[in-house]
Protein backbone atom coordinates (compact mmCIF):
# COMPACT_ATOMS: atom_id res chain seq x y z
CA UNK A 1 0.00 0.00 0.00
CA UNK A 2 2.78 2.42 0.86
CA UNK A 3 4.26 1.57 -2.50
CA UNK A 4 0.97 2.48 -4.14
CA UNK A 5 1.08 5.92 -2.60
CA UNK A 6 4.66 6.72 -3.50
CA UNK A 7 4.06 5.69 -7.11
CA UNK A 8 1.16 8.10 -7.30
CA UNK A 9 3.04 10.93 -5.68
CA UNK A 10 6.02 10.64 -8.00
CA UNK A 11 4.11 10.25 -11.26
CA UNK A 12 7.13 11.45 -13.30
CA UNK A 13 8.13 15.11 -13.10
CA UNK A 14 7.75 15.52 -16.87
CA UNK A 15 4.26 14.08 -16.76
CA UNK A 16 3.46 16.37 -13.87
CA UNK A 17 4.60 19.36 -15.93
CA UNK A 18 2.54 18.36 -18.94
CA UNK A 19 -0.52 18.18 -16.74
CA UNK A 20 -0.19 21.78 -15.59
CA UNK A 21 -2.66 24.13 -17.28
CA UNK A 22 0.06 26.54 -18.38
CA UNK A 23 2.23 24.02 -20.24
CA UNK A 24 0.70 24.80 -23.63
CA UNK A 25 1.04 28.52 -23.02
CA UNK A 26 4.68 28.12 -22.06
CA UNK A 27 5.51 26.15 -25.21
CA UNK A 28 3.74 28.80 -27.30
CA UNK A 29 5.74 31.53 -25.60
CA UNK A 30 9.07 29.82 -26.29
CA UNK A 31 8.25 29.10 -29.94
CA UNK A 32 6.97 32.62 -30.61
CA UNK A 33 9.98 34.22 -28.93
CA UNK A 34 12.42 32.13 -30.95
CA UNK A 35 10.63 32.96 -34.20
CA UNK A 36 10.72 36.69 -33.58
CA UNK A 37 14.25 36.55 -32.18
CA UNK A 38 15.30 35.17 -35.56
CA UNK A 39 13.16 37.55 -37.62
CA UNK A 40 13.54 40.65 -35.46
CA UNK A 41 17.27 40.41 -34.88
CA UNK A 42 19.38 42.37 -32.41
CA UNK A 43 16.99 45.28 -31.85
CA UNK A 44 14.16 42.99 -30.86
CA UNK A 45 16.46 41.01 -28.57
CA UNK A 46 17.79 44.18 -26.92
CA UNK A 47 16.26 46.67 -24.52
CA UNK A 48 14.11 48.46 -27.13
CA UNK A 49 12.46 45.20 -28.14
CA UNK A 50 11.92 44.03 -24.58
CA UNK A 51 10.59 47.37 -23.44
CA UNK A 52 8.15 47.64 -26.31
CA UNK A 53 6.47 44.29 -25.67
CA UNK A 54 6.75 44.52 -21.90
CA UNK A 55 5.12 47.96 -21.85
CA UNK A 56 2.24 46.64 -23.90
CA UNK A 57 2.04 43.46 -21.82
CA UNK A 58 1.87 45.47 -18.61
CA UNK A 59 -1.22 47.39 -19.77
CA UNK A 60 -3.15 44.54 -21.31
CA UNK A 61 -1.83 42.14 -18.68
CA UNK A 62 -3.25 44.09 -15.74
CA UNK A 63 -6.69 43.83 -17.36
CA UNK A 64 -6.22 40.23 -18.55
CA UNK A 65 -5.70 38.99 -14.97
CA UNK A 66 -9.21 39.70 -13.64
CA UNK A 67 -10.75 39.01 -17.06
CA UNK A 68 -9.07 35.60 -16.81
CA UNK A 69 -10.50 35.03 -13.33
CA UNK A 70 -13.94 35.92 -14.68
CA UNK A 71 -13.50 33.45 -17.55
CA UNK A 72 -12.44 30.75 -15.09
CA UNK A 73 -15.66 31.52 -13.23
CA UNK A 74 -17.51 31.17 -16.54
CA UNK A 75 -18.20 34.86 -17.21
CA UNK A 76 -17.04 37.53 -19.66
CA UNK A 77 -16.41 41.24 -19.27
CA UNK A 78 -16.58 43.32 -22.43
CA UNK A 79 -17.06 46.60 -20.60
CA UNK A 80 -13.35 46.94 -19.73
CA UNK A 81 -12.98 48.63 -23.12
CA UNK A 82 -15.07 51.60 -22.06
CA UNK A 83 -14.13 51.66 -18.37
CA UNK A 84 -10.54 52.48 -19.34
CA UNK A 85 -11.31 55.80 -21.13
CA UNK A 86 -14.06 56.58 -18.60
CA UNK A 87 -11.45 56.38 -15.86
CA UNK A 88 -8.87 58.43 -17.78
CA UNK A 89 -11.41 61.14 -18.49
CA UNK A 90 -12.63 61.19 -14.91
CA UNK A 91 -9.06 61.86 -13.79
CA UNK A 92 -8.56 64.50 -16.49
CA UNK A 93 -11.86 66.25 -15.83
CA UNK A 94 -11.55 66.26 -12.04
CA UNK A 95 -7.87 67.21 -11.85
CA UNK A 96 -7.38 68.92 -15.22
CA UNK A 97 -10.64 70.69 -15.99
CA UNK A 98 -11.69 71.38 -12.38
CA UNK A 99 -8.12 71.62 -11.01
CA UNK A 100 -8.81 69.38 -8.00
CA UNK A 101 -5.83 67.64 -6.36
CA UNK A 102 -4.70 64.71 -8.46
CA UNK A 103 -5.33 62.13 -5.75
CA UNK A 104 -9.01 63.04 -5.90
CA UNK A 105 -8.96 62.56 -9.66
CA UNK A 106 -7.21 59.19 -9.32
CA UNK A 107 -9.65 58.07 -6.63
CA UNK A 108 -12.52 59.20 -8.85
CA UNK A 109 -11.17 57.27 -11.84
CA UNK A 110 -10.69 54.08 -9.85
CA UNK A 111 -14.12 54.63 -8.27
CA UNK A 112 -15.71 54.70 -11.71
CA UNK A 113 -14.16 51.30 -12.44
CA UNK A 114 -15.38 49.80 -9.17
CA UNK A 115 -18.86 51.25 -9.74
CA UNK A 116 -19.18 49.83 -13.25
CA UNK A 117 -17.93 46.48 -11.91
CA UNK A 118 -20.55 46.57 -9.18
CA UNK A 119 -23.31 47.29 -11.70
CA UNK A 120 -22.06 44.47 -13.96
CA UNK A 121 -21.90 42.08 -11.03
CA UNK A 122 -25.36 42.94 -9.78
CA UNK A 123 -26.88 42.62 -13.26
CA UNK A 124 -25.15 39.29 -13.92
CA UNK A 125 -26.11 37.77 -10.57
CA UNK A 126 -29.68 39.10 -10.44
CA UNK A 127 -30.78 38.28 -13.99
CA UNK A 128 -30.41 35.24 -16.21
CA UNK A 129 -29.06 37.29 -19.13
CA UNK A 130 -25.63 36.03 -20.31
CA UNK A 131 -22.78 38.19 -19.06
CA UNK A 132 -21.59 38.74 -22.64
CA UNK A 133 -24.80 40.65 -23.40
CA UNK A 134 -24.90 42.48 -20.08
CA UNK A 135 -21.34 43.74 -20.34
CA UNK A 136 -21.81 44.74 -24.00
CA UNK A 137 -24.75 46.75 -22.71
CA UNK A 138 -22.80 48.40 -19.92
CA UNK A 139 -19.91 49.03 -22.31
CA UNK A 140 -22.15 51.09 -24.60
CA UNK A 141 -23.83 52.78 -21.66
CA UNK A 142 -20.49 53.81 -20.15
CA UNK A 143 -19.15 54.84 -23.55
CA UNK A 144 -22.21 57.03 -24.20
CA UNK A 145 -22.09 58.58 -20.74
CA UNK A 146 -18.36 59.26 -21.03
CA UNK A 147 -18.73 60.95 -24.42
CA UNK A 148 -21.82 62.92 -23.42
CA UNK A 149 -20.50 64.12 -20.08
CA UNK A 150 -17.04 64.96 -21.44
CA UNK A 151 -18.49 67.15 -24.18
CA UNK A 152 -20.98 68.67 -21.76
CA UNK A 153 -18.32 69.51 -19.18
CA UNK A 154 -15.15 70.08 -21.16
CA UNK A 155 -16.60 70.93 -24.56
CA UNK A 156 -14.31 68.53 -26.43
CA UNK A 157 -13.52 64.81 -26.67
CA UNK A 158 -10.02 65.16 -25.26
CA UNK A 159 -9.07 66.65 -21.88
CA UNK A 160 -5.61 67.59 -20.57
CA UNK A 161 -4.17 67.26 -17.11
CA UNK A 162 -0.70 68.09 -15.77
CA UNK A 163 0.24 65.45 -13.22
CA UNK A 164 2.37 66.43 -10.21
CA UNK A 165 5.82 64.89 -9.85
CA UNK A 166 4.87 62.36 -7.18
CA UNK A 167 1.84 61.00 -9.04
CA UNK A 168 3.85 60.95 -12.25
CA UNK A 169 6.58 58.89 -10.61
CA UNK A 170 4.07 56.43 -9.13
CA UNK A 171 1.96 55.81 -12.23
CA UNK A 172 3.92 57.18 -15.16
CA UNK A 173 7.65 56.83 -14.53
CA UNK A 174 9.89 55.21 -17.12
CA UNK A 175 13.20 53.50 -16.41
CA UNK A 176 15.96 54.13 -18.90
CA UNK A 177 13.40 56.18 -20.80
CA UNK A 178 11.91 52.94 -22.07
CA UNK A 179 10.55 50.60 -19.39
CA UNK A 180 7.28 51.95 -18.00
CA UNK A 181 6.62 51.63 -14.28
CA UNK A 182 3.42 49.84 -15.28
CA UNK A 183 5.56 46.70 -15.68
CA UNK A 184 6.23 46.73 -11.93
CA UNK A 185 2.55 47.31 -11.20
CA UNK A 186 1.73 44.38 -13.46
CA UNK A 187 4.22 42.17 -11.62
CA UNK A 188 2.59 43.21 -8.34
CA UNK A 189 -0.90 42.41 -9.62
CA UNK A 190 0.31 39.04 -10.90
CA UNK A 191 1.56 38.15 -7.42
CA UNK A 192 -1.67 39.30 -5.76
CA UNK A 193 -3.93 37.44 -8.19
CA UNK A 194 -1.67 34.38 -8.01
CA UNK A 195 -2.13 34.29 -4.25
CA UNK A 196 -5.87 34.87 -4.53
CA UNK A 197 -6.52 32.19 -7.13
CA UNK A 198 -4.07 29.47 -6.20
CA UNK A 199 -3.30 29.94 -2.53
CA UNK A 200 -6.37 31.36 -0.83
CA UNK A 201 -9.55 29.30 -0.32
CA UNK A 202 -11.38 32.02 -2.29
CA UNK A 203 -9.60 30.78 -5.43
CA UNK A 204 -11.16 27.37 -5.00
CA UNK A 205 -14.56 29.04 -5.05
CA UNK A 206 -13.76 30.71 -8.38
CA UNK A 207 -12.90 27.33 -9.93
CA UNK A 208 -15.99 25.72 -8.42
CA UNK A 209 -18.29 28.47 -9.70
CA UNK A 210 -16.88 28.02 -13.20
CA UNK A 211 -17.17 24.24 -12.92
CA UNK A 212 -20.80 24.14 -11.86
CA UNK A 213 -22.57 27.19 -10.50
CA UNK A 214 -25.48 25.33 -8.87
CA UNK A 215 -23.28 22.77 -7.14
CA UNK A 216 -21.03 25.57 -5.94
CA UNK A 217 -24.03 27.36 -4.45
CA UNK A 218 -25.25 24.18 -2.79
CA UNK A 219 -21.78 23.63 -1.35
CA UNK A 220 -22.21 26.91 0.49
CA UNK A 221 -20.12 29.19 -1.70
CA UNK A 222 -21.46 32.77 -1.84
CA UNK A 223 -21.65 32.68 -5.63
CA UNK A 224 -23.24 36.09 -6.12
CA UNK A 225 -20.75 37.81 -3.83
CA UNK A 226 -17.74 36.21 -5.51
CA UNK A 227 -19.10 37.10 -8.96
CA UNK A 228 -19.62 40.72 -7.95
CA UNK A 229 -16.09 40.82 -6.48
CA UNK A 230 -14.68 39.51 -9.76
CA UNK A 231 -16.48 42.18 -11.80
CA UNK A 232 -15.29 44.88 -9.41
CA UNK A 233 -11.75 43.57 -9.84
CA UNK A 234 -11.95 43.79 -13.62
CA UNK A 235 -13.54 47.24 -13.41
CA UNK A 236 -10.78 48.33 -11.05
CA UNK A 237 -8.04 46.90 -13.28
CA UNK A 238 -9.35 48.64 -16.41
CA UNK A 239 -9.68 51.89 -14.45
CA UNK A 240 -6.15 51.45 -13.12
CA UNK A 241 -4.74 51.21 -16.63
CA UNK A 242 -6.81 54.27 -17.52
CA UNK A 243 -5.15 56.15 -14.65
CA UNK A 244 -1.62 55.12 -15.69
CA UNK A 245 -2.36 56.21 -19.27
CA UNK A 246 -3.68 59.64 -18.39
CA UNK A 247 -0.81 60.26 -15.97
CA UNK A 248 1.76 59.07 -18.52
CA UNK A 249 0.41 61.02 -21.50
CA UNK A 250 -1.10 64.02 -19.70
CA UNK A 251 -4.30 63.75 -21.68
CA UNK A 252 -7.32 61.52 -22.01
CA UNK A 253 -9.32 60.62 -25.12
CA UNK A 254 -12.88 59.34 -25.37
CA UNK A 255 -11.96 56.88 -28.09
CA UNK A 256 -9.33 54.84 -26.28
CA UNK A 257 -9.51 51.36 -24.91
CA UNK A 258 -11.65 49.31 -27.26
CA UNK A 259 -8.60 47.28 -28.35
CA UNK A 260 -8.32 46.01 -24.78
CA UNK A 261 -11.58 44.07 -25.05
CA UNK A 262 -10.35 41.49 -27.54
CA UNK A 263 -6.71 41.71 -26.55
CA UNK A 264 -7.39 40.83 -22.92
CA UNK A 265 -9.59 37.90 -23.89
CA UNK A 266 -6.95 36.65 -26.35
CA UNK A 267 -4.19 36.79 -23.73
CA UNK A 268 -6.38 34.76 -21.40
CA UNK A 269 -7.30 32.15 -24.00
CA UNK A 270 -3.72 31.81 -25.28
CA UNK A 271 -2.85 31.41 -21.60
CA UNK A 272 -4.83 28.21 -21.38
CA UNK A 273 -7.98 29.31 -19.58
CA UNK A 274 -10.88 27.06 -20.49
CA UNK A 275 -13.42 28.70 -22.80
CA UNK A 276 -16.20 27.08 -20.81
CA UNK A 277 -14.81 28.02 -17.40
CA UNK A 278 -13.61 25.92 -14.51
CA UNK A 279 -9.93 25.72 -15.48
CA UNK A 280 -6.96 28.02 -15.92
CA UNK A 281 -4.00 29.50 -14.07
CA UNK A 282 -2.44 32.87 -13.38
CA UNK A 283 0.95 31.75 -14.70
CA UNK A 284 -0.83 30.66 -17.87
CA UNK A 285 -2.45 34.09 -18.24
CA UNK A 286 1.00 35.65 -17.68
CA UNK A 287 2.54 33.51 -20.43
CA UNK A 288 -0.43 34.14 -22.72
CA UNK A 289 -0.08 37.89 -22.28
CA UNK A 290 3.65 37.79 -23.01
CA UNK A 291 3.10 35.62 -26.09
CA UNK A 292 0.41 37.90 -27.44
CA UNK A 293 2.50 41.02 -26.95
CA UNK A 294 5.69 39.49 -28.37
CA UNK A 295 3.81 38.70 -31.58
CA UNK A 296 2.12 42.08 -31.60
CA UNK A 297 5.35 44.06 -31.19
CA UNK A 298 7.63 41.54 -32.90
CA UNK A 299 5.89 42.28 -36.17
CA UNK A 300 7.38 45.79 -36.23
CA UNK A 301 10.90 44.57 -35.60
CA UNK A 302 10.72 41.74 -38.10
CA UNK A 303 9.65 44.02 -40.93
CA UNK A 304 6.67 41.81 -41.70
CA UNK A 305 3.47 43.24 -43.12
CA UNK A 306 1.22 44.14 -40.12
CA UNK A 307 -1.55 42.12 -41.79
CA UNK A 308 0.67 39.08 -41.44
CA UNK A 309 0.77 39.87 -37.73
CA UNK A 310 -3.02 39.65 -37.55
CA UNK A 311 -2.93 36.32 -39.33
CA UNK A 312 -0.27 35.02 -36.93
CA UNK A 313 -2.31 36.13 -33.92
CA UNK A 314 -5.42 34.48 -35.34
CA UNK A 315 -3.55 31.25 -36.00
CA UNK A 316 -1.94 31.40 -32.56
CA UNK A 317 -5.35 31.70 -30.96
CA UNK A 318 -6.71 28.66 -32.76
CA UNK A 319 -3.55 26.71 -32.03
CA UNK A 320 -3.73 27.72 -28.37
CA UNK A 321 -7.31 26.50 -28.02
CA UNK A 322 -6.46 23.22 -29.75
CA UNK A 323 -3.29 22.60 -27.75
CA UNK A 324 -4.94 23.59 -24.50
CA UNK A 325 -7.64 21.02 -25.15
CA UNK A 326 -4.87 18.53 -25.84
CA UNK A 327 -3.06 19.34 -22.61
CA UNK A 328 -6.31 19.14 -20.69
CA UNK A 329 -6.92 15.72 -22.19
CA UNK A 330 -3.45 14.65 -21.06
CA UNK A 331 -4.19 15.90 -17.56
CA UNK A 332 -7.49 14.03 -17.47
CA UNK A 333 -6.21 10.78 -18.92
CA UNK A 334 -3.08 10.47 -16.83
CA UNK A 335 -4.97 8.32 -14.35
CA UNK A 336 -5.99 5.85 -17.01
CA UNK A 337 -2.45 5.33 -18.32
CA UNK A 338 -0.93 4.81 -14.93
CA UNK A 339 -2.61 1.51 -14.13
Amino acid sequence: MSQDISRGAAGGSLGRLARRPESGAFLGLVVVYIIFAVLGGKVFLGAPGWSSWLNMAAEVGIIALPVGLLMIAGELDISVGSVLPASSLTVAILSGHYDLPLWIGVAGGLGVGLAVGLVNGLLVTRTTIPSLIITIGTMFAVMGLTLGLTILIAGSTGVFVVPDALTKSVFGAAFGGMFQIGILWWAGFVLIVLALLHVSPWGNWVFAIGGDRDSARNAGIPVARVTIQLYMMSGFAAAFVGVTQVVTFGSAQVAAGSSFIFNSIMCVVIGGVSLTGGAGSVIGILFGTMTFCIVNQGIFYSGLDPNVGSIIIGALLLLAVLSNDKFRAIALSYAAKKK
Partner: protein, 268 residues
Protein backbone atom coordinates in the same frame (compact mmCIF):
# COMPACT_ATOMS: atom_id res chain seq x y z
CA UNK B 1 -29.48 -2.91 16.93
CA UNK B 2 -33.20 -3.21 16.37
CA UNK B 3 -34.17 -0.52 13.86
CA UNK B 4 -37.92 -0.90 14.17
CA UNK B 5 -38.08 0.87 17.51
CA UNK B 6 -36.25 4.02 16.47
CA UNK B 7 -37.94 6.77 14.47
CA UNK B 8 -37.08 6.73 10.77
CA UNK B 9 -34.31 9.15 9.82
CA UNK B 10 -36.47 10.49 7.04
CA UNK B 11 -40.16 10.08 6.49
CA UNK B 12 -42.70 11.41 4.01
CA UNK B 13 -46.36 11.61 4.99
CA UNK B 14 -48.93 11.95 2.17
CA UNK B 15 -46.77 14.26 0.09
CA UNK B 16 -48.27 15.76 -3.05
CA UNK B 17 -46.31 17.84 -5.52
CA UNK B 18 -47.83 19.85 -8.35
CA UNK B 19 -46.22 22.22 -10.78
CA UNK B 20 -49.06 24.65 -11.40
CA UNK B 21 -51.83 22.54 -12.89
CA UNK B 22 -49.60 19.48 -13.38
CA UNK B 23 -49.85 16.96 -10.55
CA UNK B 24 -46.65 14.94 -10.44
CA UNK B 25 -46.71 13.22 -7.02
CA UNK B 26 -49.81 11.97 -5.19
CA UNK B 27 -50.00 10.89 -1.57
CA UNK B 28 -46.43 9.66 -1.20
CA UNK B 29 -45.72 8.08 2.19
CA UNK B 30 -42.27 6.57 2.71
CA UNK B 31 -39.85 5.84 5.52
CA UNK B 32 -36.15 5.18 5.57
CA UNK B 33 -34.22 4.09 8.64
CA UNK B 34 -30.55 4.39 9.51
CA UNK B 35 -28.51 1.53 8.07
CA UNK B 36 -31.16 0.74 5.51
CA UNK B 37 -31.29 1.00 1.72
CA UNK B 38 -34.59 2.10 0.23
CA UNK B 39 -34.79 1.41 -3.50
CA UNK B 40 -37.02 3.67 -5.49
CA UNK B 41 -38.08 2.00 -8.69
CA UNK B 42 -40.19 3.31 -11.51
CA UNK B 43 -40.47 3.85 -15.22
CA UNK B 44 -39.39 7.02 -17.02
CA UNK B 45 -41.49 9.97 -15.96
CA UNK B 46 -42.86 8.18 -12.92
CA UNK B 47 -41.72 11.04 -10.70
CA UNK B 48 -38.59 9.60 -9.09
CA UNK B 49 -36.43 12.65 -9.72
CA UNK B 50 -39.22 14.96 -8.59
CA UNK B 51 -39.53 12.97 -5.38
CA UNK B 52 -35.85 13.14 -4.51
CA UNK B 53 -35.66 16.80 -5.44
CA UNK B 54 -38.45 17.36 -2.95
CA UNK B 55 -36.39 15.53 -0.32
CA UNK B 56 -33.29 17.51 -1.21
CA UNK B 57 -34.89 20.93 -0.86
CA UNK B 58 -34.96 21.73 -4.58
CA UNK B 59 -38.79 21.58 -4.59
CA UNK B 60 -41.17 22.08 -1.69
CA UNK B 61 -44.13 19.72 -1.24
CA UNK B 62 -47.49 21.15 -2.28
CA UNK B 63 -49.17 19.19 0.53
CA UNK B 64 -48.02 16.73 3.14
CA UNK B 65 -45.15 16.54 5.59
CA UNK B 66 -41.47 15.68 5.67
CA UNK B 67 -40.15 14.40 9.00
CA UNK B 68 -36.63 13.83 10.22
CA UNK B 69 -36.16 11.70 13.35
CA UNK B 70 -39.89 12.04 13.90
CA UNK B 71 -39.98 15.86 13.86
CA UNK B 72 -41.43 17.85 11.00
CA UNK B 73 -38.93 19.75 8.87
CA UNK B 74 -39.11 22.01 5.85
CA UNK B 75 -36.32 22.72 3.41
CA UNK B 76 -36.45 26.06 1.63
CA UNK B 77 -33.25 25.41 -0.33
CA UNK B 78 -30.88 22.53 -1.10
CA UNK B 79 -28.56 24.06 1.49
CA UNK B 80 -31.15 23.62 4.22
CA UNK B 81 -31.44 19.95 3.36
CA UNK B 82 -27.67 19.57 3.17
CA UNK B 83 -27.27 21.14 6.59
CA UNK B 84 -29.68 18.57 8.02
CA UNK B 85 -27.48 15.82 6.59
CA UNK B 86 -29.27 15.02 3.34
CA UNK B 87 -26.72 14.54 0.56
CA UNK B 88 -27.63 14.01 -3.08
CA UNK B 89 -25.22 12.39 -5.51
CA UNK B 90 -26.12 12.79 -9.14
CA UNK B 91 -25.59 10.45 -12.01
CA UNK B 92 -22.11 11.60 -12.90
CA UNK B 93 -20.85 11.98 -9.37
CA UNK B 94 -18.32 14.78 -9.11
CA UNK B 95 -19.66 17.93 -10.67
CA UNK B 96 -16.27 19.63 -11.01
CA UNK B 97 -14.42 17.52 -13.58
CA UNK B 98 -11.55 19.98 -14.00
CA UNK B 99 -10.80 20.29 -10.29
CA UNK B 100 -8.40 18.08 -8.39
CA UNK B 101 -9.72 15.42 -6.04
CA UNK B 102 -8.52 17.33 -2.99
CA UNK B 103 -9.94 20.67 -4.10
CA UNK B 104 -13.31 19.34 -5.19
CA UNK B 105 -13.67 17.26 -2.02
CA UNK B 106 -13.47 20.42 0.08
CA UNK B 107 -15.39 22.86 -2.13
CA UNK B 108 -17.00 25.44 0.15
CA UNK B 109 -15.31 24.11 3.32
CA UNK B 110 -11.64 24.47 2.36
CA UNK B 111 -9.15 23.59 5.08
CA UNK B 112 -6.79 26.51 5.66
CA UNK B 113 -3.58 27.20 7.46
CA UNK B 114 -2.07 30.51 8.48
CA UNK B 115 -3.66 33.46 10.15
CA UNK B 116 -6.21 36.22 9.43
CA UNK B 117 -6.04 37.59 5.88
CA UNK B 118 -3.08 35.31 5.21
CA UNK B 119 -5.02 32.10 5.60
CA UNK B 120 -4.14 29.85 2.73
CA UNK B 121 -5.72 26.75 1.27
CA UNK B 122 -4.05 23.72 2.87
CA UNK B 123 -3.59 21.62 -0.24
CA UNK B 124 -1.69 18.82 1.44
CA UNK B 125 -4.24 18.38 4.19
CA UNK B 126 -7.11 18.50 1.69
CA UNK B 127 -5.45 15.90 -0.53
CA UNK B 128 -4.55 13.60 2.35
CA UNK B 129 -8.02 13.64 3.88
CA UNK B 130 -9.75 13.20 0.52
CA UNK B 131 -7.52 10.32 -0.55
CA UNK B 132 -7.91 8.63 2.82
CA UNK B 133 -11.69 9.01 2.72
CA UNK B 134 -12.00 7.29 -0.66
CA UNK B 135 -9.45 4.63 0.20
CA UNK B 136 -11.42 3.81 3.34
CA UNK B 137 -14.28 3.00 1.01
CA UNK B 138 -12.08 0.46 -0.72
CA UNK B 139 -11.07 2.56 -3.72
CA UNK B 140 -7.37 1.87 -3.36
CA UNK B 141 -6.57 2.94 -6.92
CA UNK B 142 -6.95 6.57 -5.89
CA UNK B 143 -3.69 7.64 -4.30
CA UNK B 144 -2.97 11.15 -5.57
CA UNK B 145 -5.18 14.02 -4.44
CA UNK B 146 -3.88 16.25 -7.25
CA UNK B 147 -5.50 14.09 -9.89
CA UNK B 148 -8.40 15.70 -11.74
CA UNK B 149 -11.85 14.37 -10.94
CA UNK B 150 -12.64 14.23 -14.66
CA UNK B 151 -9.87 11.65 -15.09
CA UNK B 152 -11.53 9.15 -12.77
CA UNK B 153 -13.79 6.40 -14.05
CA UNK B 154 -17.53 6.79 -13.62
CA UNK B 155 -17.58 4.37 -10.72
CA UNK B 156 -14.65 6.06 -8.99
CA UNK B 157 -16.35 9.41 -9.34
CA UNK B 158 -19.52 8.08 -7.78
CA UNK B 159 -17.47 6.57 -4.99
CA UNK B 160 -15.64 9.85 -4.42
CA UNK B 161 -18.94 11.73 -4.22
CA UNK B 162 -20.36 9.19 -1.76
CA UNK B 163 -17.20 9.20 0.35
CA UNK B 164 -17.38 12.99 0.42
CA UNK B 165 -20.99 12.97 1.59
CA UNK B 166 -20.18 10.47 4.32
CA UNK B 167 -17.08 12.40 5.39
CA UNK B 168 -19.14 15.56 5.90
CA UNK B 169 -21.60 13.77 8.11
CA UNK B 170 -24.45 12.95 5.74
CA UNK B 171 -27.18 10.89 7.41
CA UNK B 172 -29.28 10.35 4.34
CA UNK B 173 -27.64 9.57 1.03
CA UNK B 174 -29.77 10.03 -2.08
CA UNK B 175 -28.39 8.43 -5.22
CA UNK B 176 -30.14 9.25 -8.49
CA UNK B 177 -29.39 6.40 -10.90
CA UNK B 178 -25.74 6.10 -9.89
CA UNK B 179 -25.28 2.90 -11.86
CA UNK B 180 -27.17 3.91 -15.00
CA UNK B 181 -24.17 4.79 -17.16
CA UNK B 182 -21.82 2.14 -15.79
CA UNK B 183 -20.65 -1.23 -17.03
CA UNK B 184 -21.05 -4.39 -14.98
CA UNK B 185 -17.76 -4.12 -13.07
CA UNK B 186 -18.11 -0.43 -12.33
CA UNK B 187 -21.71 -0.88 -11.22
CA UNK B 188 -20.66 -3.67 -8.85
CA UNK B 189 -18.12 -1.27 -7.46
CA UNK B 190 -20.74 1.37 -6.72
CA UNK B 191 -23.05 -1.23 -5.19
CA UNK B 192 -20.23 -2.22 -2.83
CA UNK B 193 -19.86 1.41 -1.83
CA UNK B 194 -23.59 1.62 -1.16
CA UNK B 195 -23.31 -1.40 1.10
CA UNK B 196 -20.40 0.21 2.90
CA UNK B 197 -22.41 3.42 3.44
CA UNK B 198 -25.24 1.33 4.82
CA UNK B 199 -22.85 -0.55 7.10
CA UNK B 200 -21.77 2.81 8.49
CA UNK B 201 -25.34 3.53 9.48
CA UNK B 202 -26.45 5.89 6.73
CA UNK B 203 -29.97 5.81 5.37
CA UNK B 204 -29.65 5.34 1.62
CA UNK B 205 -32.26 6.14 -1.01
CA UNK B 206 -31.21 4.44 -4.21
CA UNK B 207 -32.99 5.26 -7.45
CA UNK B 208 -32.56 2.86 -10.31
CA UNK B 209 -34.12 1.27 -13.36
CA UNK B 210 -32.17 -1.94 -12.95
CA UNK B 211 -34.02 -4.44 -10.79
CA UNK B 212 -30.84 -6.52 -10.43
CA UNK B 213 -28.97 -3.59 -8.91
CA UNK B 214 -31.85 -2.82 -6.58
CA UNK B 215 -32.09 -6.41 -5.41
CA UNK B 216 -28.35 -6.56 -4.75
CA UNK B 217 -28.42 -3.91 -2.03
CA UNK B 218 -32.05 -3.06 -1.18
CA UNK B 219 -33.75 -3.72 2.16
CA UNK B 220 -36.94 -1.99 1.27
CA UNK B 221 -38.48 -1.25 -2.14
CA UNK B 222 -41.02 1.26 -3.38
CA UNK B 223 -42.36 1.24 -6.91
CA UNK B 224 -43.58 4.54 -8.26
CA UNK B 225 -46.14 4.60 -11.07
CA UNK B 226 -47.43 7.89 -12.44
CA UNK B 227 -46.54 9.71 -9.27
CA UNK B 228 -48.10 7.30 -6.77
CA UNK B 229 -46.65 4.42 -4.80
CA UNK B 230 -47.91 1.28 -6.48
CA UNK B 231 -46.09 -1.16 -4.25
CA UNK B 232 -44.09 -1.02 -1.05
CA UNK B 233 -42.41 -4.21 0.14
CA UNK B 234 -39.36 -5.54 1.90
CA UNK B 235 -36.46 -7.66 0.77
CA UNK B 236 -37.47 -11.21 -0.09
CA UNK B 237 -41.19 -10.46 -0.40
CA UNK B 238 -41.20 -10.37 -4.18
CA UNK B 239 -39.29 -12.10 -6.95
CA UNK B 240 -37.32 -10.36 -9.63
CA UNK B 241 -40.03 -11.09 -12.22
CA UNK B 242 -42.75 -9.66 -10.00
CA UNK B 243 -40.76 -6.46 -9.49
CA UNK B 244 -40.06 -6.11 -13.19
CA UNK B 245 -43.75 -6.53 -13.93
CA UNK B 246 -44.63 -3.94 -11.32
CA UNK B 247 -42.22 -1.45 -12.83
CA UNK B 248 -43.79 -1.96 -16.24
CA UNK B 249 -46.92 -0.45 -14.71
CA UNK B 250 -48.90 -3.54 -13.77
CA UNK B 251 -48.55 -5.11 -17.19
CA UNK B 252 -46.75 -8.40 -16.95
CA UNK B 253 -43.66 -9.06 -19.00
CA UNK B 254 -45.73 -11.59 -20.93
CA UNK B 255 -48.29 -8.87 -21.87
CA UNK B 256 -45.44 -6.69 -23.03
CA UNK B 257 -43.96 -9.41 -25.20
CA UNK B 258 -47.34 -10.10 -26.72
CA UNK B 259 -47.80 -6.45 -27.63
CA UNK B 260 -44.35 -6.26 -29.17
CA UNK B 261 -45.12 -9.36 -31.22
CA UNK B 262 -48.37 -7.86 -32.40
CA UNK B 263 -46.63 -4.68 -33.42
CA UNK B 264 -43.97 -6.57 -35.35
CA UNK B 265 -46.60 -8.53 -37.19
CA UNK B 266 -48.35 -5.33 -38.17
CA UNK B 267 -45.16 -3.88 -39.58
CA UNK B 268 -44.16 -7.07 -41.37
Amino acid sequence: MEMVHTAPVLELQSVDKSFGPIDVLHGISLKVHAGEVLCLLGDNGAGKSTLIKTLAGVHQPTRGKILMDGAEVSFATPRDAAERGIATVHQFGGTFPLMSIGRSFFVGVEPTKGWGPFRIFDRKKANDIAVKAVRDFGITRIDDGDRLVGGLSGGERQSLAIARAVHFGARVLILDEPTAALGVKQAAHVLRIINEAKRRGLAVIFITHQVMHAMAVGDHFAVLIRGAIAADFRRGEKTREEITDLMAGGETMADLEASIDAQERRHA
